[in-house]
């Protein structure tokens, strides 16, 4: 999998490159809009990460050019502009996703993977499983080691989201956005409380705990505590 990164902030670019390489991607970085556009048009990439304010050529113009040339490269826009209008503008110009700076790497990774899945037309599975846990997406039931676990609808959605991103940290913000569709932090420990309730239902009484807290970042579904 090859990622194209067009970003002029060296610190952010290094941060993304390091993370993506660790996650097993190969990544090309350009800090100039025109050079980046040239690379996007001439070489094969699976996904592009694009900053909006760039020297050479701005991000929206790059998007316009890419879509004119009928390049169906999936693009994630990175921007410090955060209003709904900015988001809509970005998506109208042909962006596939919009991520606001500052962001956590795990969030970027999750979005990249989701775009890749979409681009590869992966057939949506009817069930998801991780370790000894199985989610039936049609019947909306959860079974762990043969034991049926009763979950509320939102708890099910939360677990589904975590299992889809198994092994990657999901932040509180991501959970709020993907599970509850709120793009703000409603305060109070609403997410923490949900997670601990979920834990109680599906980790309690089992040998291996699956939900782990990563301090300062969020939560991750994984097998062992390393």
């Amino acid at each position: 999998m090859r990622i194209l990164l067009i970003e002029d902030d060296q610190v952010i670019a290094d941060f993304i490159q390091k993370g993506m390489k660790e996650a097993g991607f190969s990544i090309d970085h350009f800090d100039d809009g025109l050079v980046g556009l040239h690379a996007a048009l001439t070489q094969d990439y699976d996904v592009g990460i694009l900053d909006l304010m760039l020297p050479g050529l701005d991000g929206l113009s790059i998007l316009d050019r890419l879509r004119q040339e009928k390049k169906d490269l999936p693009i994630i826009i990175l921007s410090a502009k955060r209003t709904v209008d900015d988001r809509i503008t970005g998506l109208r110009h042909g962006g596939d996703d919009y991520l606001i700076k500052p962001f956590s790497f795990s969030e970027l990774l999750a979005r990249v993977e989701s775009l890749l899945r979409r681009a590869q037309h992966v057939v949506e599975p009817t069930s998801l499983s991780f370790h000894d846990l199985t989610l039936d997406l049609l019947a909306r039931t959860v079974v762990r080691s043969g034991t049926k676990i009763d979950l509320q609808p939102k708890e099910f959605t939360l677990l589904e989201y975590m299992i889809r991103n198994a092994g990657h940290v999901v932040s509180k913000t991501m959970i709020m956005e993907r599970v509850w569709d709120y793009n703000f932090d409603p305060g109070t420990n609403v997410v923490e409380a949900r997670i601990s309730k979920l834990r109680e239902k599906m980790d309690k009484g089992f040998e291996v705990p699956l939900i782990h807290t990563v301090r300062g970042l969020g939560y991750v579904l994984k097998r062992n505590n390393d």
Partner: protein
Amino acid sequence: MFSRGTMIKLPNTLGFRLTFWYASAFLVCLVAALLALFIYLDTILNNRMDEDLREDIAEFQELLTEGGRNKVISEIKREINSSDESEVFLRLLDGHGKVVFSSDVSEWEGLDAATTLIVPKDTVPSLPVLETVEFPNQEYPARIVLGKIGPDIILQIGETLEKKEEIMELLFMVFAGMVFLGIPLASGVGWLIARKAVSGIEEVSRAAKDIERGHLDRQVTVKAQEEEIQTLMDTFNAMAARIRSLVHEMRDMTDNIAHDLRSPLARIRAMSEAALSENDSTKGYKNAAMDTIKECDRLMHLINTTLDMAEVDAGVTHTKKERVNLSQLLADLCELFEAAAEEKHITLKVTLEPNCHIVGDKHHLQRMVANLLDNAMKYTTSEGQVSIELARFPHGFCLTIADTGLGIPLSDQDRIFDRFFRCDHSRSLDGCGLGLSFARSVARAHGGDITVTSESSKGSIFTSTFPIASPAK
């Protein structure tokens, strides 16, 4: 060839246009009135002359019956002697148009050829023939009457129109003078009226220019007599006041934000410095990094909330207003807080009137209610209760969120909606002091408001109203 240089470019100002149109309208009316008067006078004078001529015929007819032809002739002679032969002539004709007796008609060239000489057979004596004839040797035309005054005796009287025409000419001169004088007069009056109308606009324009130069306290103080101009001035003043208050608020906000930004920055700096001075402790570094992320998130939250609130307050949010089901929105939020409440052993009592719709910004409303719920949860101790109630009123909805928490001291109740204000007992808790002011901004942006009643250590009740906009608005 057409020369573009000769085209006159008229000034495009409102003042000039008003003056021009006023003057034009005035002149058109004046000319029309004078013309009507002129035609009316002309007709009256003509009628009077005809009347006189008819009377003359009638008199001579009487004279003929009384004293015969000789009496008529002597009367004609008398008449001729008393007037100028170039002004009047009298002739007697027989039934075939042959002149029997005549005054001196040398001044009336071609008289026989120009006039009717035979009275139509069927004409009764009392119906004389009247005509206006021009003579080559006379300056003015004449009015001529031909009437039968007896059997076979026809009288023809001609009289010049000189006097009448002279009166009309004089009248024309007077009227033309009036029009000529009217042009500057109308323009002057028009200009004065235009000045008066435009002066208000100019004052507003000057005030706007002053404000643009930075004099934000500038107001339009002049009073206008015209309602429209006064409305413009009032609207302008209201607008200027709004800008002023926004700028002041922004200034205060900036001060507060700068202050609130410093604290997390100071913490980040301190943590990083402490981590650096530690001796190769990976765990220490990790902790410092985690704390830094936490502080960054807090900073982001502060910045975002501030921006959102500025947006709501300025009313510049471009988000399309949509129909929002308040009941559903509240139910979803209560569901979200449910687990957290359970964990803290707080009872959530939810009473929602179903299908309460308002038009508004869904995301802002969500945050507003989330802020209120968050507050209620924060200040309610274990085993307490938070009740959420949505009720319908004739002109809107009322949302009550009551808690059995710490309550707010009376002295603070007025200020809790102010930006960055935090009660003493809230300082130890998470938050940036913007939650309630955001809630109030959103409530007001939706035409409602939010109030609080609270009793120390018994709890607080936050009441928000959401009026349904009348269709006219």
